[in-house]
Amino acid sequence: MLNDLPKDIIEYLITELPPFTGVLIIRTDSEGNIIDHHGPHKEYLRLVPKVGKLIHEHVPALFSMVPPLVSPMVLHNIQSNTDVYADIHIVEANEDEYWIFFVDQSNQVAGIRDIIQKMNEEKFREETKVSLPESSEPYEVFEDLILNIENEYTATIHSKIPSWFSSLAPKYYLNSEIKFTEIFPYLEVFMFEANDFWSNKKDGKIESGIWSETIKKGKDIALTAFAIYNKGKKFMLIRPMDDDIDKEQMALQMAREQKLAYEKLEKTESKLKTLLDYKDKFVSIVSHDLRSPVAAVLGIAELLVNDKNELTKLDDFYQEMIFNIREEMIRLLDYNDKLYHWSNLELGNFKVVKEKASLLKIIEITHRTASNKLEEKGIKFSTNLKTDITIEVDLSLFQQVLNNLVSNAIKFTPKNGNIFVRVKEDDDIRICVVDSGIGIPKDISKSIFSGFSRKSTMGTGGEKGTGLGLGIVKKIIDAHGFTINVESEIGAGSKFIITIPEKAG
C-alpha cells in the first residue's frame, strides 16, 4: 500500500502530519469503501478495517464525509475508539481515491477534558444553583501548568504547581499572579495567535509550537502551550512533552542524519570523480608523450633486424637481443596505444559518428588484420555471413571492437583451433565471435569488461596482454547503444555476443 502513495499524498504526510510513527492510514474509494489500510488499527479502531466495508461503519463520525467537501479536510479530536481521540485528515488523491490519516490526540484531549469538566461543573452550579459536590482540589492534569489569563502579560496560576515549574520558578504558588511572558519569553510570540483566537470568543483551543526551558543545569524540558477559550474564560495550559518530543526528535534526528550522510556521500563521489579524471588525464598525457620515443626505439630495432648484412656480423646472442628489443617495443607500443585509447574513452574524449557500413567488409578487414597471428597458431577463421548486411556504426571504432575480440580469441585459443564469426539477423542483429579456446573462469567473466584486470592475461601461446582490450570494446559498444555479453565454458571455448538493436543498427 505504501508503495502506492501518490506524490501529493507523500508531500502532505511530510508537511502536515507529525513526523513520528503511529499514524493509521486508510485508503477508500469515492463512496467511502475501504480499499486497504496501513498502521496500528488496533489503537484507533475497535474492529479490524475490512476491505470493501464503509469507513463510517468503523468511525460513525465519518458518515457522509467521504468524499469531503474540501480536500484536505481535518476533523479534530474525533473519538475513534474507547478512550482514543484522533485528528482525522481526509485527503483526495484523485477522483476515485481518498487517503484518511488518523493521528492520535488522546493525551491532548484527556488534559483539556478535565479542565472543561471542571469549568462546566462551575457553570452548572452558577446557572442551576444546584450544588454539585464541591471539589476542593485545584485542577490537576498530568504535569500541566494552567494559567487563568487576565491580560496580555498577567495571569493567575489555576492549577497545582507541577514539579518542573517549581524548578524553573520556585516562588510561585496556586493563585499567584504571574507575568508569564517573563518566565516563558516564547509565549510572547504565541500570544499574537492566542489573542486572535480569544478575540473570536468561540470555545476551543489552539496549540503553540514547541520550546525548551532549562530547569536545572544540563536538564532541559520541552514544552508546548494551549490557548483555551471556554464559556468566556481565557486559559493558557503549559504542558511538558517528554514522550512525544523524544519520538519526534528521534525521527527527525534519524532523517537529518541520513540526509547529512547522503550529502557527504555525494560530496565524496564528486571528489572521487575529479580524482579519476585527473588520473585519466595523467595517463592520457603520459601515454601520448611516450609514443614518440617508443616508436623511435622500435624504428631503430626494425632497421637493425631488416639490415641482414649488419645483423649477420653479430653473434647469435646479440641477434636475439635485437629481436627481443623489437618484440618488446611492439608490445610496449601496443600497450601504450591501448592505454591512450582507454584513458580518452574514460574521459569521454570521443564522439560516435555513425554511418552506414558493410558488415561483411568489417569482418574481412578483421580477418586480414589478424591473418599473421592466425597463421602463427594455425587457427582457422570462418564466418557464416554470405550476403552482406548494412549496419549503422562508427566505422573505425566498430572495426576496433571486432579486431579486439578476434585478437582476444586468438590469444586464448590453442594451436589449430577455430574462430567463427556468426551473424544472425532477425529483429536485432547479433554478431557472435566464437572460439574453441580455453574458456573463461566464472570469477573472471564477471569483471572481464571492467578494463584493468588483476588476473593473468597470458595467452595459450605465451602471449602477454594488457587486459585493456575488452574494456575498450565495452566502452565503444556502450557508446553505440549496443550490448555485449559473454558465454563461456572452461575447456570448451567462449562466445562474445554483440547485439545491435533493431532501431540502432
Partner: protein, 158 residues
Amino acid sequence: MLGSFAVGKTSLVQRFVNSIFSEKYQTTIGVKIDQKIVDVDGSEVNLLLWDIHGEDDYQKVKPAYIMGSSGCFIVVDGTRKASLEIGYELIEMAKKTAPNSVIVVLINKCDLKDEWDITNDDIAGLRSAGFEVIETSAKTNSAIDTAFYTISKLMLNK
C-alpha cells in the same frame, strides 16, 4: 539564530552562553531561549537568544519567531553549499518579517576550512549585498565573542 539544520546554531549559542561544545549532533525541536548580558563599549546589553530549529523539509521556521527580533544571525555551514541557499531564503524571510532587524551572516565550521564548499566568491557576494559576514567555529571557539559583540553593536546603532 536562523539557518538550515546541522549548521551549528545550538553549538554557537552553547559555546557563547555556557562555554561548552559537543561534537554530537542533536537536532533542535522547536525553540530554545537563552539569555546573556554582554558589554558593548561600556554599555550592558541583555541578549535574549532565540535558538530556532533548523529549516528543512521537516521543519519550517515560523515568521512569528522573527517578528519582534532586533537582530538575526543567519548561520551557514561552510562545508555545505546547500545551507547557503537556505540562508538566502531565511534572509529574505527576515527582511520581510522584521525589516528593522539587523542581519549578520555566520559561516560556521571554519575549523574544517579544507572541506569548505563555500567559496571566497560566495562570501564576497554576501558582503557586496551589504551583510556583515563572520567566519566562526563553535568547536575551536573562533570569533564567537566577536560575532555576538558585532551584532549587539549593530543593534544598538540601529
